[in-house]
């Protein structure tokens, strides 16, 4: 493989008045894993996309092998040997796995696509992750039928199929389980040894320290430093990313008092994915849900919220309930913070106020008492320390962490008794996470029952009273007190019962 050296100098990108990238600098060479760090909205993805030609920068330059280059389009970047795994994925839902991976560089003969060869090549790529994905993932499967982690794998293989000299992994591990991450890291090591350059974006510090050689840190769209990982530590990097942030070192929490009333009791719950789940949750308890991606955690939360069909028994506050619609669950003081805030939680072009109020309008009578709604919205924004220009600004002007606060604020307005959280901190920066943890503590102390799925083991270990690990639609283990360890969590995720 031809060696590559890439340099971004003083890259600038603005959207109207929003400065996404003020001064992005980045240097990466063959055989090197460069971590790109920064809080939400600091410009990591923007910088990555400038490198792949998806975004046209307003200023600065990109040097490839010392030569100033400006990419007019993604295919120009690709010709220079750069490809990327995009944070929001670049897959086509209506095409198959093979078609996606080879999209725009299909093997052809005389203009005709060689379908057989395409399939075979796809299988070869898939074999890189052999044994780590479901039977669904086949060259001929439609992307729309895959689970998030499978899509993520396809996205990675797609980037790889271009035989890049520089590959950018923008939060490529966010939806992967730990075995898949391990495998990816093995691959990264191989690529590295073959002389590939890698840019690695992640919010998980542990991963940075495992895989990266160096780290470039962005803050507010500005590159504020580059460090050699071996000579640095978490403290230093986090300080660079966020001024004055604290890393929470948390105590293991005790199991909740048996005297507390049972808020939720579930008996033998079944959906397309769940195969009979039973659990109990008390007021003031934070019950974690763990396990690999797609083992039924989302289904469980969605079913409890009435958003998908289920069978089995749900007893809420002592009353047997079946919710046919989220509205019914809401009326019973249940709230759900969905997993994907962009597609499931927010009305991106509407105002912050409208987003906050969406679940509560009916409480403000007709015609709507707007000043009251505004006061309530302002109060919740203040409580959550939302950083925004005004309540009337559209939600898409907010950074990821603040947008997430809007999703949570929407439900806090209704003071839920049972709060369902579907991986709410995915892709949120360290600072915002810390605030969120404090909020959870406060809610729990106030007696809210919380069911919390997280793909981040550290969160489960640090925040929960108990953790239920799901595997293949069933609970494979309940971990509490001294059983609640990382080793047990991993083992149970693989299906071992503890």
């Amino acid at each position: 493989m031809k060696a590559i050296s890439v340099q971004v100098e003083k890259a600038v990108k603005t959207y109207g008045g929003v400065v996404a990238l003020a001064e992005g600098n980045l240097t990466v060479q063959s055989g090197e894993v460069m971590a790109l760090l920064g809080a939400n909205g600091s410009g990591k993805s923007t910088l990555s996309k400038i490198l792949t030609g998806v975004i046209a920068p307003n200023g600065g330059q990109v040097l490839i092998d010392g030569k100033a280059t400006s990419f007019g389009s993604p295919q120009e970047a690709r010709k220079a040997g750069i490809s990327a795994v995009y944070q929001e994925l670049s897959l086509i839902p209506d095409l198959t796995v093979a078609e996606n991976i080879w999209l725009s560089h299909e093997p052809i003969r005389g203009g005709f696509i060689k379908w057989q060869e395409m399939r075979a090549n796809t299988q070869q790529l898939l074999d890189l992750f052999k044994g780590l994905y479901g039977t669904n993932l086949q060259p001929d499967a439609l992307i729309s039928t895959l689970t998030p982690d499978e899509r993520q794998l396809v996205e990675i293989l797609k980037a790889l199929s271009f035989d890049p000299r520089l590959i950018i992994l923008d939060e490529a591990t966010a939806s992967l389980d730990s075995r898949q991450v391990n495998r990816l890291f093995e691959l990264v090591q191989t690529w590295k040894s073959h002389g590939m350059a890698i840019v690695f974006v992640s919010h998980r510090m542990e991963e940075i320290f495992r895989i990266a050689d160096k780290a470039t840190v962005l803050r507010n769209g500005r590159t504020v430093g580059e460090r050699v990982i071996a000579e640095s530590n978490e403290r230093e990097l986090v300080d660079l990313m966020i001024e004055g942030a604290t890393i929470l070192q948390r105590e293991r929490l005790p199991v909740v008092d048996e005297q507390k009333p049972v808020r939720l009791a579930v008996e033998n719950l079944r959906t397309n994915v769940l195969r009979g789940v039973s659990l109990q949750l008390r007021d003031g308890e934070l019950l974690g849900l763990g396990g690999l991606q797609g083992q039924g955690q989302s289904d469980l939360l969605m079913a409890l919220f009435g958003a998908i069909r289920c069978e089995g028994q749900i007893v809420l506050s002592g009353q047997a309930r079946t919710f046919h619609h989220p509205r019914a669950a809401m009326k019973a003081d249940v709230a759900l913070v969905p997993g994907d805030r962009g597609s499931e939680g927010l009305l991106l072009i509407r105002s912050i106020l409208e987003n906050l109020m969406l679940a509560s309008w009916s409480r403000y009578r007709t015609p709507i008492a707007f000043s009251k709604a505004r006061a309530d919205g302002g109060q919740i924004a203040q409580e959550l320390k939302m950083v925004m220009s005004s309540l009337d600004a559209p939600v898409n002007s907010l950074s990821g962490g603040n947008a997430q606060k809007v999703v949570i604020g929407k439900w806090l307005l209704r003071s839920p008794k049972l709060l369902l959280l579907n991986d709410p901190t995915k892709g949120i920066d360290v600072g915002a996470k810390a605030e969120f943890y404090n909020l959870l503590d406060r809610l729990r102390d106030a007696g809210t029952a919380i069911l919390f799925y997280s793909s981040d083991d550290d969160e489960l270990l640090g925040l929960c009273n108990r953790v239920l690990v799901l595997h293949d639609g069933e609970i494979s283990a309940e971990l509490r007190e001294d059983k609640l360890t990382r080793e047990n969590l991993v083992a149970a995720s693989m299906g071992a019962s503890a």
Partner: protein, 321 residues
């Protein structure tokens, strides 16, 4: 050019641009066609715009509701509304109110069928409302057997079309009231807020407790009822009915909504934008007439103006940013 356009757009909301354009064209029209700019013409244009605007009210709601929402059945419903009023009243002023109620109900019923097809059968709005337009037209033929029996109650012409307060005809007052009602509906009711929500993101709306299907069905019901109301009002203007009375209003009503800055993709827009849009279209129409432009060129000019207007504020995000 791009950024200055963007700046204009962020400073002045599209409805205001449309309104300013309407006023400008009206005033400027006097230069091109002497005699064009006068109070009579202003009333005349406002009256004609009112009919278009009322017919476009339901369309505004449907387009805001997103999911590629559009109601192609409104033209046929305008006709049906007028024909029903004509036949049921038979020229009797006392029958106006009962006829109005029936017309609204029939419109709502047809609209509900559209909504059900969309929400529960997953049919694309463009297609089912087009099909429904065919059905309504078929119903009209079957119901009338081609014979238009009936009469227009004299009061309808007096109250709606002829000068009522000073030189202002009643239909303009009806229109302004409808505008207020639409504003309250969109901006000051939970229904309105939920309508915008489903226009942007149905999943998020549903997970926030919005009954998406219900709102969709209600929206199309309202659209149907408002279109039928448009037919009722239009009868006050034309005094008699014919079998394709409403069809010519269909596409202009959509154009009025879009020219008023309501986003076809849904989730963003206003009725006062539509009102401004109806005025713009009507001023253009009247001006072209006053200029005695040959029909072929009228079409070409109209198309070009629409393109220019859309370019000013109807642009979508670029794939490459």
């Amino acid at each position: 050019m791009n950024t200055s356009l963007n700046r204009i757009r962020s400073l002045i909301p599209p409805p205001l641009i449309a309104l300013m354009l309407a006023v400008f064209l009206f005033v400027f029209g006097g230069v091109l066609a002497p005699g064009f700019t006068n109070p009579d013409q202003a009333v005349n244009i406002a009256r004609l715009a009112a009919f278009l605007g009322i017919i476009a009210a339901g369309q505004t709601l449907v387009i805001i509701s997103g999911g590629e929402g559009i109601d192609l059945s409104s033209g046929a419903l305008v006709t049906l509304g007028a024909i029903l009023t004509y036949r049921l009243t038979g020229g009797d002023d006392a029958m106006i109110l009962p006829a109005l109620l029936l017309v609204l109900s029939v419109g709502a019923l047809i609209g509900a069928l559209n909504g059900i097809g969309i929400a529960f059968l997953g049919m694309p709005p463009l297609v089912i409302t087009l099909g429904m337009a065919g059905v309504v037209t078929g119903v009209i033929y079957f119901y009338t057997q081609g014979q238009l029996i009936g009469r227009t109650p004299p009061a309808m012409g007096r109250w709606l079309s002829q000068a009522l307060i000073g030189p202002i005809p009643g239909v303009i007052i009806v229109w302004v009231l409808l505008g207020l009602g639409m504003w309250v509906l969109l901006e000051r009711t939970a229904f309105g807020k939920q309508l915008f929500a489903i226009g942007i993101n149905r999943t998020a709306a549903r997970l926030s407790g919005v009954r998406v299907n219900l709102i969709v069905v209600l929206t199309y019901m309202l659209s149907g009822a408002l279109a039928a109301l448009g037919g009722f009002v239009l009868l006050g203007f034309t005094q008699t009915v014919f079998l394709n009375l409403g069809q010519p209003y269909l596409f202009p009503s959509i154009a009025a909504v879009v020219v008023g800055g309501t986003v076809l993709a849904g989730g963003k827009g206003s009725y006062w934008g539509t009102m401004a849009g109806a005025l713009v279209l009507q001023v253009i129409n009247s001006l072209l007439l006053a200029l005695r432009v040959e029909e072929a060129f009228q079409l070409i000019i109209l198309g070009t103006i629409l393109l220019v207007l859309l370019t000013m504020y109807g642009r979508q995000r670029s794939v490459r940013q």
